[in-house]
């Protein structure tokens, strides 16, 4: 699995490279600017890029713009955006109309190696990785009439993991449940919320996020 990293802090860039390398991923390129990133994506056609949302020169939105451009012009390249703050508005901007091959995680997450590597691999293979903070912000959002109140505690947990981009198997592993039990919870959730059930994991991510956001 081929990875390109765009991160302007040398310390983190090197750390990430080492982390990915020791976990069986091949870092084919790393750089500090958005322009370099776009160049490397064109030359190396990686499976996934990991990009810091704040890149030089202004450290405003260069990283996000590069991410959006890659998603628009290289749909087969997964894009995982890292940031020191995660915001619902930015998540929605990044996903736009598809969560396929898209990830948005708090930078802190890289130190949880197993989870992080899993997230990178998911994004590289067309799945999604949405930071738990985003999901919990949306889940705990105050609503005037709250349809989530109808969900059981276990159903809420499943919904949360689903929104993060995990597969049913991933959810089963995380909650120590059988795959069948998870499938049952999922269809129950979709029924209660009135969502049409959908095939791919990444597609249901967006459906759930849009539902929670509205």
């Amino acid at each position: 699995m081929r990875v390109v990293i765009a991160e302007d802090s040398v310390l983190l860039r090197e750390g990430l490279t080492q982390l990915l390398g020791t976990n069986g991923l091949e870092v084919v390129g790393s750089c500090a600017t958005a322009d370099d990133l776009l160049l490397k994506v064109r030359s190396y056609s990686p499976d996934v890029v990991i990009v810091d949302i704040r890149l030089p020169p202004t450290h405003n939105d260069e990283g996000l713009r590069a991410a959006l451009e890659i998603r628009a012009h290289h749909p087969d390249v997964g894009v995982l955006v890292l940031s020191q703050y995660v915001e619902v508005g930015l998540a929605m901007k990044l996903l736009a109309d598809s969560a396929e091959g898209a990830g948005y995680l708090l930078k802190d997450r890289i130190s949880d190696v197993e989870e992080f590597i899993a997230a990178v691999e998911r994004v590289a293979t067309g799945g999604s990785a949405i930071d738990p903070i985003i999901v919990s912000t949306l889940l705990t959002r105050q609503r005037e009439d709250d349809p989530l109140a109808a969900l059981t505690r276990r159903e809420r947990e499943v919904l949360e993991l689903m929104a993060e981009g995990r597969s049913n198997q991933g959810i089963a592993d995380k909650l120590v449940l059988s795959l069948r039990a998870v499938e049952k919870y999922v269809s129950s959730i979709f029924g209660k919320l009135g969502l049409p059930s959908s095939g791919r994991d990444s597609r249901r991510v967006l459906a759930v996020l849009l539902y929670l956001r509205s």
Binding site: S9, L11, L12, G15, L16, Q18, L19, T22, I53, R54, H59, N60, D61, L64, Q84, Y85, E87, V88, G89, L90, M92, K93, K107, D108, I110, S111, D112, V113, T137, L138, R141, Q142, R143, E144, R213
Partner: protein, 597 residues
């Protein structure tokens, strides 16, 4: 910012100290003498004409010539008496007196007087040309002008004298200077004189036409009689030249005659107009009674002085600078910049300055009367403008203070982001790599994992600190994106509507963000609301942010709710913040912030 010393030095009109009744408006003894001489000469000319040719003699331009002299002498003497500082009066008087003198002398029977009269017969033309070129300030300064006058003088004095040496009258009275009577030589000199006058007149007409073309509109009006004078001289010289070939145009002669009579009267009218215009100062008084604003005062002054380009500048002693009507610093015109300045002083100190067309400088009495009449209004206007200048300054310093604070917080946030936060993340990553190397069961691995969680907690706290310092998302991604997180995290259900697609100036976005943030905190703490709506829109050049809740209202808008700080921030950007919070009727906070696109 111009300092007052410089201004005084560059003002084209000296500060006007006020009228001096002892010096003005009094006819002096020499002037009385000239009046008597002019009237006597005119009477003598009429008497001689009537005696020689009967009353019919007065019906030709020749017989009425005395009217030209009388018009010049009378207008000149009158203007001289009324406006001793204006040199056009004496110049016109000289034209008229020379004209009449020559008229009288050539009528004399004594040969010497007659000869002198003939010699001086064209002297008035030289002074008249000087008068035309000296208009409107009564001074001839340009070398070219002196050359033109010299051409006429050459014709009138040395060539006339030369001609007299050869010319004979062939009867009585005799030419006493005819040393070598010779009609041919006399005829040639005469032709040369006539040709020279035509050339000189053409040059004069061109010079004056050019001056007219370059003049400002108020000055152009005043220059009309001068232009007419140039045309009259030109026409007159051509007529005289054609006269040599016995070609006559009686109508044209009448026209030239009429022009010569009219010019001094019109110029006198122009000079006196400043006196007549002072009656409009009465209207100014009426307008001033209505306590005009500085802009209205300027308009009233412009009307009274008939100078639409007039502007007012106020002297602000505390700022040691000149200011326009809105309290902004203004540069005073410098010499030769095409504008003149008249100081309005009170008790020996500058109060204001009128910046006007230089042509107005020729009417110091009017300027004086106007600035005297408007004195109190101008003083009021100055106080008004001074207040505005202070407000402007205050607004400026408040916005600078807030901006400086903002920049500093932004810098701190950047430092945290690029420094401590990155290092902690890298450290945490390093620990997890170590943990991996040690394997899952090592005791050290558990402790490393514990340390990593500690770091995660610190990072969470740092993140909150950084967010409190500066909302980087606003700067990086705009108001709409940032508000989404804010409203999603609010403890009260929020309906968010952002009807702005484009980015606004950063300051405006940050102010709007803080406004929403603070209002939502207030709502959660005090309002007991069940829902809030946040609307951001744009009308014309204003961003409008409105936060409305359905809570208990009665918000204390003066103390402690953070609203004061928000109002400062909004007002520093030239906007305004209003809060409606009737008891039991919810709270509505509305900010309007200008944002020129």
């Amino acid at each position: 910012m111009a300092m007052p010393e410089t201004v005084s030095a560059t003002a084209s009109v000296a500060p006007w100290s006020g009228p001096d009744p002892g010096r003005r408006r009094r006819t002096t003894w020499p002037q009385w003498g000239l009046w008597l001489m002019a009237l006597a000469a005119a009477a003598g000319a009429v008497a001689t004409t009537v005696a020689n040719e009967g009353l019919n003699g007065l019906e030709t331009p020749n017989g009425l010539k005395f009217l030209v002299g009388l018009a010049f002498a009378g207008s000149g003497l009158y203007a001289w008496g009324r406006r001793p500082d204006n040199r056009l009066g004496p110049l016109m008087a000289a034209v008229g007196c020379l004209y009449l003198l020559a008229q009288i002398l050539v009528q004399a029977h004594a040969a010497a007087l007659f000869t002198a009269g003939v010699w001086l017969s064209d002297a008035w033309v030289v002074v008249f040309v000087a008068f035309l070129l000296a208009f409107p300030d009564g001074r001839v300064t340009e070398r070219f002008d002196l050359v033109v006058i010299g051409m006429f003088a050459l014709m009138a004095f040395p060539l006339e004298l030369a001609w007299l040496l050869f010319w004979t009258t062939g009867g009585s009275p005799e030419n006493t200077l005819a040393a070598w009577p010779n009609d041919t030589v006399a005829g040639n000199i005469d032709s040369a004189q006539r040709a020279l006058v035509v050339v000189a007149s053409v040059v004069l007409a061109i010079a004056l036409a050019r001056r007219w073309a370059l003049a400002s509109p108020p000055l152009r009006r005043a220059l009309v009689p001068i232009l007419v004078g140039a045309v009259a001289i030109l026409l007159g010289s051509v007529l005289v030249a054609l006269d040599k070939f016995q070609i006559e145009f009686p109508t044209a002669r009448w026209a030239v005659f009429a022009a010569y009579v009219a010019i001094p009267l019109v110029v006198l009218g122009g000079i006196l107009r400043s006196r007549l215009a002072r009656s409009t100062v009465g209207d100014l008084f009426v307008e001033l009674r209505a306590d005009p604003s500085p802009a209205e005062l300027r308009d009233a002054l412009a009307r009274t002085l008939r100078d639409p380009s007039l502007s007012l500048a106020y002297w602000l002693p505390q700022f040691r600078s000149w200011s326009d009507l809105d309290g902004r610093p203004v540069e005073m015109p410098t010499d030769g910049g095409g504008r003149a300045t008249t100081m309005v002083d009170r008790q020996g100190e500058h109060v204001a300055a009128l910046i006007h067309d230089p042509a107005l400088a020729d009417e110091p009495e009017l300027l004086d009367a106007v600035s005297a009449a408007a004195g109190i209004a101008i003083e009021n206007g100055r106080l008004h403008v001074e207040l505005r200048a202070r407000l402007e300054e205050l607004r400026g310093s408040r916005s600078r203070i807030i901006e400086a604070g903002q920049k500093e917080r932004q810098r701190l946030e950047r430092n945290l982001h690029d420094g401590a936060q990155q290092r902690l993340i890298a450290l945490s990553l390093e620990l997890s790599l170590l943990e991996q190397e040690l394997g899952p069961d090592a005791d050290a691995g558990l402790r490393l994992s514990q340390a990593r969680r500690e770091i995660a907690t610190s990072l969470g706290e740092l993140r909150e600190v950084a967010r409190g310092l500066h909302p980087a998302v606003v700067t990086g991604h705009g108001l709409a994106v940032a508000l989404e997180q804010l409203t999603a995290r609010a403890p009260v259900p929020v309906r968010l509507t952002v009807a702005i697609d484009e980015r606004l100036p950063e300051q405006v976005e940050v102010a709007a963000y803080y406004l929403v943030s603070e209002s939502l905190v207030n709502t959660a703490k005090h309002a007991r609301a069940t829902s809030v709506s946040v609307d951001v829109s744009r009308t014309n050049d204003q961003a409008v942010v409105e936060v409305v809740d359905d809570g208990i209202g009665g918000a204390d808008t003066e103390h402690g709710t953070g609203l004061r700080g928000l109002a400062d921030r909004v007002e520093a950007l030239g906007g305004r913040l209003r809060v409606w919070s009737p008891s039991g009727g919810g709270t509505r906070v509305r900010a309007e912030i200008p944002c020129a696109s």
